[in-house]
């Protein structure tokens, strides 16, 4: 019996090693895929990097007919749409997280709301594009006419509004889960000192979940930066940079992703195609950099 048990324990250890190797193998494959994508992007954008140089990044003109390529308008377009969308979505995702996480964590209403919010993420982005075009654009047009800007209806503001709706579930569902996970002794400790719901949320739940909620916001931002279809349909697709801030926000524009989607099939010579791919590379780096900054902020929150 004893030796049999010892033999078995060695077999168990062997399987443990095999299992661990499988896990490592799977994880390494994922890393390799990311590195592979990066390498492909770099190789494919070489013609553009060679002929356009670093000035590509701040070139303000994008004119494929004249063979002039500058990424600056799209960089601005991408960052503006994403951050406006993020700022618009944060109050909603926080409110929903707090309501469904703390005030109403159980019951049919809570489930209904939570499922509907998760459904927002499941709707294909082209449908948001359609909805934006047919419903939102006329409304925005009237609004723009009232505040005295050119009533295009499409543009960064419209794209941001739709984008804001699309990214809510990413921050919200993580937030709901995190707030439900706050240990009840902690909350009860504050209630027992006479705190109200609001005070418990402000001084116990928020500090406890702060870094997690921020991670959810970061997830939303990542989604916003790369979102293509709905944005392409609503942003107006103009490659020239507007001169005034008002025109920039309410007028038609372009993001990196929307330019690639729009012009990829039309790119008829090497440098044009390569310039579009380089745009993809820039988008890749922008996403990585914003994620790294976010991670730094999260660690700082967690340590203090």
């Amino acid at each position: 019996m004893k030796n049999k048990r010892l033999d078995l324990s060695y077999t168990q250890m062997k399987w443990e090693t095999v299992f661990r190797r499988i896990l490592i193998f799977m994880s390494v494959i994922l890393v390799l895929i990311v590195i592979g994508i990066l390498i492909t992007l770099i190789i494919e954008s070489m013609p553009s990097i060679k002929s356009l140089g670093i000035g590509y990044l701040w070139g303000k003109v994008w004119d494929p007919v004249a063979n002039i390529y500058g990424a600056y308008p799209f960089l601005i377009g991408t960052l503006l749409t994403s951050f406006i969308a993020l700022i618009l979505s944060i109050p909603f995702s926080y409110a929903v997280s707090i309501y469904l996480g703390e005030y109403n964590p159980k019951g049919w209403l809570s489930n209904l709301l939570k499922n509907s919010i998760e459904l927002i993420a499941a709707v294909p982005s082209i449908i948001y594009g359609f909805w934006g075009l047919f419903v939102l654009v006329p409304v925005i047009r009237t609004f723009e006419a009232k505040i005295g800007v050119a009533p295009y209806g499409i543009g960064i503001f419209t794209a941001s509004l739709v984008l804001a709706v699309m990214i809510i579930p990413y921050a919200a569902s993580l937030g709901i889960t995190l707030i439900r996970m706050v240990p009840s002794p902690l909350k009860e400790g504050a209630y027992a000192l006479g705190a109200t719901r609001f005070e418990v949320i402000r001084s116990v739940i928020m500090p406890y979940t702060r870094s997690g909620l921020f991670a959810g916001v970061l997830l939303s931002l990542g989604r916003a930066l790369g979102e293509t279809m709905a944005v392409t349909m609503l942003i107006g697709n103009t490659s020239t940079l507007a001169h005034t801030f008002k025109d920039l926000i309410f007028g038609p524009s372009n993001t990196m992703a929307s330019v690639i989607a729009n012009e990829f099939t039309e790119a008829d010579h090497t440098v044009y195609l390569s310039a579009l791919i380089e745009l993809g590379l820039v988008l890749f780096f922008v996403t990585v950099i914003i994620n790294l900054i976010g991670k730094r902020i999260i660690t700082r929150f967690t340590n203090s």
Binding site: R5, L6, L8, S9, Y10, Q12, M13
Partner: protein, 252 residues
């Protein structure tokens, strides 16, 4: 010293840079109940967790020195086998919530993929639950979930689960600190019966409990084993002034 089951010599353990167990040398004899006591943070639980190599499961935790089960060096043995030979019961009762009482008792066999006939399994379940003084209370509800039991019953279920593997030594990490006084006394009663067949090492905060249940007591302070002696001797005439201070409640 041929009856020594577990022996440590110059044994050390760390959490990262934090030296929590310092040069511990101890010999634990067969079929005895050993109480390990000391103030919070003195390294007693860490030492206990080193005996069946649970300590190393925590990232950053390391151990050095000699720790033997009979003549075999625990830290060169197969850790799976070590844990089969040295069972453990934790501070909070932790029956597997997805398993019935019956399946909880034979969980060790199922987890390890040991196949056996239903009849043999029935025998093990009855024997283990009887040894853990739980058989009479649960024999009609063996297929209910273990989590429906009271805290004390759950803890005895966890003891049955450890006994089922027929270990040499059972480690208890403050086994009654989450239990009410009645459950505590039933578990303490159990220690007296269990020592017929097993060697028990019990970490406890409760000095009365150490005095009631143990044959020998080890007193840890700041990571060192200050004193290890017969429990009666220790509680009536401790040799070290730190032990005396602790027992008389001058610090805790």
């Amino acid at each position: 010293m041929e009856h020594t089951v577990v022996s440590a010599s110059k044994f050390n353990a760390w959490f990262g840079d934090n030296h929590v167990v310092k040069d511990v040398t101890i010999g634990i004899e067969k079929n005895q109940v050993i109480a390990v006591m000391g103030p919070s943070g003195c390294g007693k639980t860490t030492f206990l967790r080193c005996i069946n190599r649970m300590h190393e499961l925590i990232p950053g935790a390391t151990a050095k020195g000699s720790l033997k089960l009979y003549d075999d060096e625990v830290y060169t043995m197969n850790p799976i086998y070590v844990r089969y030979k040295i069972g453990m019961v934790f501070q909070r009762p932790n029956p597997f919530p997805n398993l019935s009482i019956y399946d909880n008792v034979v969980a060790g066999y199922k987890l390890n993929g040991l196949k056996m006939a239903k009849a043999d399994m029935d025998v093990i379940v009855e024997k283990s639950l009887t040894s853990a003084a739980l058989w009479k209370e649960v024999k009609d509800s063996l297929h209910k979930k273990g989590t429906f039991l009271s805290g004390g019953q759950q803890q005895r279920l966890c003891i049955a689960r450890a006994i089922a593997m027929e270990p040499e030594v059972i480690l208890f990490d403050e086994p009654t600190s989450a239990l009410d006084p009645i459950s505590t006394s039933s578990v303490e009663q159990l220690f007296h019966e269990l020592k017929e067949n097993y060697t028990l090492i019990i970490v406890t905060h409760n000095m009365q409990q150490a005095a009631r249940v143990s044959d020998k007591t080890a007193f840890f302070y700041m990571g060192e084993l200050v004193e290890f002696d017969d429990t009666k001797q220790m509680f009536t005439a401790p040799t070290d002034v730190r032990t005396q201070n602790y027992i008389t409640g001058r610090f805790s």
